[in-house]
């Protein structure tokens, strides 16, 4: 078991390293550089000043040297300084993580909870009207692009029926603190959560439905029913537990996807999270910030996969470490 864990950790570290190198090469392959962007934000800049900035940022060094220097720093836990904001990248990420975490957790809970529930509901009577209705709903949720959903929700809930705020995480003139602040954030959380979760909610409901239907047709369910167990027990204790396995697999895999979805949602809703930070840093070729966010996200995704493995064993004790 210990050896297994160590092997997995080593594997994960290798994976993260590969991701860092790949990110570095890809990010630097994009046309334009941070100094040109800073000059752009300034409305023009003298060549001397630009050369000075390039030197200061080490951009005048050959790419392999830059990569080596970067790796050296990362190993020591230093993610560097943002070129654009001149702040430590680690500090910027730390400031943005809570917002993204809050958004993702609320979106995952909504998608996983409601999605699975809908799937199970529709699997109970696969040809009933409720099942049909849920299927249509999940199809729409599946097909609609996230940004479009976001805009439609804003128009409906923030403009036509102005009951929810348009964007941001807090009211513009919020003075902060106390229960009022919590409610304020919760109020702002509704639209982005809905937008981010709808696609996943649709996916989970379809997945849960088909997994449920699969399991319900299995022999052991027939046995359980033959034993005269209550339908509730058959459904939730015997069927659902087995049906959850594929749903959890997808949940783990989709964590990365959701992080990507968060970029769009955070941008549309001006949510001050990691996704928006990543997006804006790409627009500015703010290499240390982009790389920092990508490194952080890849660590999270790798960690999530490990956690998913663990969850397997909890749900189905028959699964053991190879």
């Amino acid at each position: 078991m210990l050896r297994h864990t160590a092997a997995r950790l080593l594997q994960a570290a290798g994976l993260v390293l590969a991701v860092v190198v790949l990110n570095f090469v890809l990010v630097h392959a994009a046309p334009g550089d941070p100094v040109e962007t800073i000059a752009g934000a300034s409305g023009g800049m003298s060549p001397e000043l630009m050369a000075q900035l390039r030197q200061q940022y080490g951009l005048d060094q050959p790419l392999p040297v830059q990569l080596w220097v970067y790796l050296g720093k990362v190993v020591q836990g230093d993610l560097g300084h943002s070129y654009f904001f001149n702040q430590p990248v680690a500090q910027m990420i730390a400031a943005r993580v809570p917002a993204t975490l809050l958004l993702m957790l609320s979106a995952v809970s909504l998608a996983f909870g409601v999605g699975t529930a809908l799937g199970v509901l529709s699997a109970r009577k696969p040809n009933g009207w409720l099942s049909q209705f849920i299927t249509v709903l999940s199809l729409v949720g599946f097909a609609a692009p996230v940004f479009w959903l976001g805009i439609m929700l804003v128009i409906l809930l923030a403009s036509v029926l102005p009951i929810l705020p348009v964007a941001g995480m807090r009211s513009i003139d919020a003075s902060g603190g106390g229960i009022g602040d919590v409610l304020d954030v919760a109020h702002h959380l509704v639209l982005p959560t809905l937008t981010l979760s709808l696609v996943y909610l649709a996916q989970y409901s379809r997945l849960a439905r088909s997994a449920m239907l699969d399991v319900l047709g299995a022999d052991f369910i027939r046995t359980a029913r033959a034993k005269g167990l209550a339908e509730r027990v058959v459904l939730y204790r015997h069927a659902l537990r087995n049906a959850l396995l594929p749903v959890v697999t997808v949940l783990g895999l989709q964590f990365g996807n959701m992080l990507a979805g968060a970029i769009l949602v955070e941008t549309v809703f001006n949510w001050p999270g990691l996704g928006r930070l990543a997006f804006e840093s790409v627009l500015r070729r703010d290499y240390p910030t982009i790389l920092g966010v990508l490194l952080f996200s890849s660590i999270v995704v790798v960690a999530m996969n490990q956690i998913t493995d663990l969850c397997y064993r909890l749900i189905d004790p028959r699964i053991k470490a190879p």
Binding site: P31, S42, L49, N86, I172, E280, L283
Partner: protein, 530 residues
Amino acid sequence: MPLLARCTCRAALLGIGALLSLAQPALAADQPKRGGTLVIGSTQTPRHLNGAVQSGVATGLSSTQIFASPLRFDGQWNPQPYLAQSWRLADDGKSLTLGLRKDALFHDGKPVTSADVAFSIMAIKANHPFSTMFGPVEKVDTPDPHTAIIRMSVPHPAIVLAMSPALCPILPRHIYGDGQDLKNHPRNSTDPVGSGPFRVTEFQPAQRVVLERFERFFLPGRPYLDKVIVSITLDRASLVLGLERGDIQMLPFVTQSTDLKRLASDPRLSLTSKGYDGMGPLNWLAFNTAKQPLSHLQVRKAIATAIDKNFITRALMGGFATVSDGPLVANSPFAASDLVRYPFDLKKAGAMLDAAGYKAGANGERFRLGLDYLPGNEDQQKNVAEYIRGQLKKVGITVEMRASADFPAWARRMAAHDFDLSMDMVFNWGDPVIGVHRTYLSSNIKPIVWTNTQSYANPKVDELLHTAGSLIDPAQRKAHYAAFQKIVTDELPILFINQVPYHTITSKKLAQVPTSIWGPMSPLDEVYYK
């Protein structure tokens, strides 16, 4: 020429005038009231808040609230007293003497002295992106705590305008003079201290800036507002929505005609296009004159003749923009009316291309060109580029649009001079020395965006600009710039299309929204809620 207040008496008069207008109670209903929070929406993300080492509207919007400058300017380019009560440009144009007011304090309570002015001007010279602005400044003498004499190596009349809030924030030497690199000074973002009407209480990068009234601001009774919040988002649509919902009360730098049309019809809002003369934003088509066939003047002239600027401003920009025919914005004191113009005439354009030796081939095509545009502003850039492509097709020039994914991608192409035609938006930045010379000087053909990437070179133009930049007599300067404008519009390194229709949209509850030449980049100490 209003740009140059040459004698102290005039300055003093202006100062007295300003005081009188303050003291004079206007109609009771117009009496400014204290209080209220103004939320300004912006899509521009400031890197930090120190306008002494960072130009651009993003930083300018907040920096001009935090830091006071020696002078401020009204809507007619007239200098007004601010930190300086008097100013005098020497007859030889090589020194500017500032008489500072004695009661100005920084936000930490320390007095503003000539040492701070000297420190700031040298800091700006060394670190500000606009190297021509304080380029000729050699040193600043401080004979007493309230007199600063800026000494220049050559006559430099642009120095007076460079005293503006957007260009010359006065920094406290006791904070920024600690030897750290000013471009990366931590106090640029964290707790910056100035002597302006508002002090920073919160700065969250890419999110918001919260500014509160500085109670000991040197202009008595001002500012009227309790608080100014700059709320930053990348998404223009949510700002427009916020304005309609009343979450935001001021939205500067709006150019999109669809937004303008929609907001203009809202009875709770008012629109103004005043306040952008200083920035002087132009939308233009740049020619790469180093490349065939654009190196042929007749080809450039034919292209100019094939484009109907009126169609662009009326149809594409909903009538909010105005046509531009020269390198200076119409309201610049140096703008000339004697320009070479190219009346729209497709037939003539075709004939000009024939005459230049570019006859149409069997398929009607004469030659092919690539057309770039600055991404991010459909109205001013992409739509105009699409229209130009259609027009040039009509005269036998096949144009291939080259989209850029984002600003850095486009900027890289410009810097590499890797383009045939490119749409562009460029600012005059007040005095031509600061924002106009850079596009035309042959010494400024450099691998950098917003230099002379057109590779335009004319010794006569170089000479005219150099002379105009150092002449003291405004009338003579104007004459030189007029000659320059005539040559440039005749030789067409750039086809000027329109003035960018920047508008400021505000809630009707707000009064005295700044309409000076620096508009939103002016101190908001006079704004109040009715």
